[in-house]
Symmetry: C2
Subunit: 265 residues, 2 copies
């Protein structure tokens, strides 16, 4: 039943405090609802228009989900979007876990104090595109279940695991694994296009306002730089963190793809 | 004088209609004010706190600019930001012009119906970083002087020229220049990492919701694709247009930089 109490409860989930207390988050719109239904994430509630429910009845029939058919007008009362889109989903926050053994064999992104929710969402989507399964954020970064983060992942939040940890201990736990490098982007780094890049390792990206924090700098073994063009000429002073993430991830994966092509008979 | 009429006039500039009528736009914050003062763009008004004016008096002394010293509180009355930052600048819209001869020798971006102001601003910044001086937008795209576009360029708007034109006639005017290619990003394109990429040409990027429009498709001579990783496995369905722009621009410039390095003695 779509009661006043339910509206109140849903609106409370717009605050970090209540999301964390209930270990819930919400997502809106057809695309995200579809991705959540396909994922292993446990959905507790769906509030949707008759139109959406009619089309998706088969997908939700067999599950223990509380369903409310609501009007577009009532959707407006709970939505955090300026243009609500047919469906509002409440789901349990998945407990993202990792093992040192596992991440020591993979490429992971480490975001040093990322604050902008749109940037975090976009980077999760980039990671998903480039097959990066684990992203680490410092504990003071923007929260994963911030509605703007969730929406801007466009569903990639269902596939990429985001962990909030202290970076020093995280790096110390893997840095001695064989051939494991800690990459970081710096203005005084080496041109990324010419540097050897491995299939595994940590890529640390600094926040736009402060760069990579001083305490992490000594832990970085390979400093990378995305050169502006023409090389050496003045232009914008920096790239947005999600833009840097896109270029760096693309370049790491290009190496693997190019090698695969070169080794074809 | 900071009058009620001035507040009214400034607030009218938040609407496209009045910006275009007066051929003015505004920008906020220290970074953008600094970039505008360094550029050739004609500034008509500066409204700033005493602190900002004291520091920047030398830069503005010799110019015909109407200056108002205003309080942080008054800045709030005119700002379009949630946290106004010391200075508000009104400037004349530069008349961006190009010649076919000039652009036929360069790499340019063509954004097919871009609607999100943050994306356009970010792409202008990416273009600036990678030395792309001209961006073309279809006439129905988001406007260049939309405050969100201006702010998200972080000053790159002072260096990159954005033109609003019909793409078919634009493409037809340059396509027969020698070695001039029309690149476009497509899901069924060739992996960008392996394709020959030139120093000049048009790169067409489609809107996130509709891709490249049907009428432009036949004009594209080289179809490019940014492969997801691992190649062929399902992941996010698409990349955000500014993320795609970043990866494509980086890859075009990498080719030039790598060639330069290879030819060093």
């Amino acid at each position: 039943m779509f009661s006043k109490n339910k509206i109140k409860f849903i609106n409370s989930l717009k605050k970090t405090k209540y999301r964390d207390e209930h270990k819930l988050f919400f997502a809106e719109g057809e695309k995200l609802a579809d991705e959540l239904l396909k994922s292993g994430i446990k959905i507790t509630n769906i509030l949707a228009t008759k139109e959406w429910l009619d089309i998706n009845s088969k997908k939700i029939n067999q599950r223990k989900i509380e369903i409310d058919e609501i009007t577009e007008n009532n959707l407006l009362k709970i939505s955090s979007l300026s243009t609500p889109n047919k469906v509002f989903v409440i789901a349990e926050q998945p407990q993202n876990v990792y093992t040192t053994e596992d991440i020591s064999q993979k490429l992971c992104l480490l975001l040093d104090d990322i604050n902008d929710p749109g940037n975090l969402g976009t980077i999760i989507r980039i990671a998903d595109w480039f097959g990066i399964q684990d992203i680490f954020c410092t504990p003071t970064s923007v929260g994963l279940y911030n509605p703007k983060v969730v929406q801007s992942t466009m569903g990639a939040i269902c596939r990429v695991r985001v962990h909030y940890v202290e970076f020093e201990s995280l790096i110390n736990s893997v840095k001695d694994y064989p051939d494991f490098s800690i990459y970081g982007t710096f203005l005084e780094g080496n041109t990324i296009y010419n540097e050897p890049l491995a299939k595994k390792g940590f890529i640390i990206l600094g926040s736009e306002s402060h760069g990579i924090s001083d305490k992490l700098k000594p832990l970085i073994t390979k400093k990378l730089y995305i050169p502006s063009f023409p090389v050496g000429e003045a232009s914008s002073e920096s790239l947005n963190i999600s833009v840097a993430a896109a270029i760096v991830c693309s370049e790491f994966r290009r190496r693997v793809i190019s090698t695969q092509n070169a080794s074809k008979p």
